[in-house]
């Protein structure tokens, strides 16, 4: 029997076959905690009496969730992280560097075959590089920082085969929202979700990461994509290990398979208050929008900002619009391409690279009763810091049109 992509990655680590349900112990290639999870991790690490971090090159801190800090409490937690990083000699990406899930691949921590753990649920993003990447909690992260290893249950794999050329105005965000609408919020619980097909092959790395990012919204343990020339082009000059092509065997076993005809899909949105409440944009057209947020580890990359700038260039937004590049590198490239100028001239507010309004921790919190269109990945009640807000998740294209018109419209 052939191996699925996740089974291949595990094979690469333990040098034997494993099967779903089996518990394996894997060495960790990168371990990340951010300002929402690192403070508890540090507390557990110290309470355990652990003395040192197993490998300074592989342990990473990122300050992105409340960044820059907005209050004394957070500043104190940030200091706790800086002190720990200094004491143990690990790398800390501080205020303004960007969102953890953008920084990790940019800085070369992620590569095909790697096992990546993050104290953040969207760690599954890195599966776009044919890595096994998954979220864990703070105490487990403390154990990883101390031991460099962790136990995993080998998951069953689901294959989602996506073919066809997307219509104009349809993006990878629409595909993944469509899939979550079908599979529902818990449909892939504990499973590895493997994406294949010519639509994926044609996609940029920016687009691919949108899809693996959202796998946790259907309960998935991780999302995975085979590595190819595009993966290589992104990683070249960034990673320290040799690049390798990694894909599932033809005769691998999947517990479920799903076919998606990408050429038939329309732009969609997730309606309040759950990610799997997915509707075609045409059904919600005309809903008035107070705030638009473009950014996050889902859709805050260069390609996203390009789409937005193209729509906004030379026009003025009607809704209050906040744009936040996912990282310093994205911001710099967007400045060089003139995108930032177009976005600012259109009347948007530009934020510091980081999580920003996505998680409702410091700024960009909607006003009571606001309707929000966001390019992020969660619209649970209270997600953006206020229970009385109605969040629609959408692609950067739909978000930009909503900004321009002050309401959700179907782009024509």
């Amino acid at each position: 029997m052939g191996m699925t992509l996740i089974e291949k990655i595990i094979y690469g680590k333990i040098e034997r076959h494993s099967s779903p349900g089996e518990i394996v112990v894997l060495p960790i290639d990168a371990a990340m905690a951010h300002d929402g999870t690192a403070p508890l991790m540090i507390k557990s690490f110290e309470e355990m009496g652990a003395k040192k971090v197993w490998d300074r090159e592989k342990a990473i801190f990122v300050i992105d969730h409340i960044s820059p800090s907005s209050n004394e409490g957070t500043s104190t937690l940030h200091k706790m992280m800086r002190d720990f990083a200094k004491k143990h000699g690990i790398k800390l990406y501080d205020v303004g560097e960007g969102v953890c899930h953008q920084i990790l691949p940019e800085m070369g921590y992620v590569f095909p075959g790697a096992v990546v753990v993050g104290a953040d649920s969207h760690t599954c993003t890195h599966g776009a590089f044919a890595a096994f990447a998954t979220g864990i909690g703070s105490t487990e992260m403390a154990a990883v920082f101390a031991s460099g290893k962790l136990w995993f249950k080998v998951p069953e794999s689901i294959k989602i085969n996506i073919n066809g050329k997307m219509k104009e105005h349809v993006t990878s965000k629409d595909i993944i929202l469509h899939i979550i609408g079908e599979i529902k919020a818990d449909g892939a619980t504990y499973k590895a979700v493997e994406f294949t097909g010519n639509t994926i092959r044609e996609m940029s790395m920016d687009s691919r990461m949108v899809m693996t990012n959202m796998v946790v919204e259907m309960g998935g343990k991780t999302g995975l994509m085979p590595s190819d020339e595009k993966t290589r082009a992104f990683l070249e000059g960034r990673i320290k290990v040799p690049f390798k092509e990694l894909k599932a065997d033809e005769n691998a076993y999947y517990s479920d398979e799903l076919e998606v005809e990408a050429d038939k899909l329309e732009p969609v949105v997730s309606c309040p208050h759950s990610v799997d409440n997915v509707k075609p944009v045409s059904e919600v057209e005309g809903i008035e929008v107070d705030q638009v947020f473009i950014g996050s580890c889902t859709n805050g990359r260069l390609e996203d900002l390009r789409m937005v700038a193209k729509i906004l260039k030379g026009k003025k937004v009607k809704a209050r619009t906040i744009v936040m590049p996912a990282s310093r590198e994205v911001l710099l490239n967007a400045i060089k391409e003139g995108i930032i100028e177009d976005i600012i001239m259109a009347g948007c507010a530009l934020g510091v690279p980081g999580c920003g309004p996505c998680v409702g921790g410091h700024h960009g919190i909607p006003s009571p009763g606001d309707v929000v269109v966001a390019t992020t990945n969660r619209n649970f009640k209270g997600r953006m810091g206020i229970a009385d807000a109605y969040i629609y998740l959408a692609s950067p294209i739909i978000a930009a049109y909503a900004a321009l018109n002050g309401k959700i419209i179907y782009p024509r």
């Binding site: 652990a50 409490g73 962790l150 998680v359």
Partner: protein
């Protein structure tokens, strides 16, 4: 390990945002402070209603969303003895064992009990006794049971000087 207590019943897809809104977790790791907001997203007065030893019983996908360990931590800190749900989101499930909160998967219990009922859970036997019914659940793997008995991964490591996988 036997747990006996009063039921608080919840629906499906209770996210970690419902259990503890993100805005609080960035400001402090003081559990007394955070516990006051327990379940605020579903029932704003929940914390004032519960007593030590109570049990949360919920529908599917309990603990979905963010990886915040504060969610199971404050459930335990507030005195909740266990959570029984149709299914759990995987990070929440792992986190619960790591901090020493027993969590049990039972497909049927939630449809049978109501808030206020008294139930008894035998972790070792894999049984839940509710009124005149007995519900079986899959026994918890040995190494997770050990972590639970020690009171979480930190205590486990302190006691044994190594992690279960070493």
């Amino acid at each position: 390990m036997i747990i006996k207590g009063r039921v608080w019943k919840f629906g499906d897809d209770i996210s970690t945002d419902h259990i503890i809104p993100g805005k609080y977790k960035f400001k402090t790791i003081d559990l007394d402070e955070l516990s006051k907001h327990l379940m605020e997203g579903v029932d704003p007065n929940f914390y004032s209603k519960i007593s030590k030893g109570d049990i949360i019983v919920a529908g599917k996908n309990f603990g979905c969303g963010s990886s915040r360990e504060q969610a199971p931590l404050i459930i335990k800190h507030a005195g909740i003895a266990a959570v029984v749900a149709k299914s759990f989101a995987r990070i929440f499930y792992r986190n619960s064992f790591n901090i020493g909160l027993p969590v049990i998967e039972s497909k049927d219990l939630v449809d049978y009990v109501n808030t206020g009922d008294i139930i008894e859970i035998s972790l070792t036997d894999g049984k839940i006794y509710a009124k005149d019914m007995i519900f079986d659940f899959k026994p918890i793997p040995d190494f997770l049971m050990k972590i639970l008995e020690d009171g979480g991964l930190v205590e486990h490591y302190k006691k044994r000087g190594k992690f279960p996988w070493e």
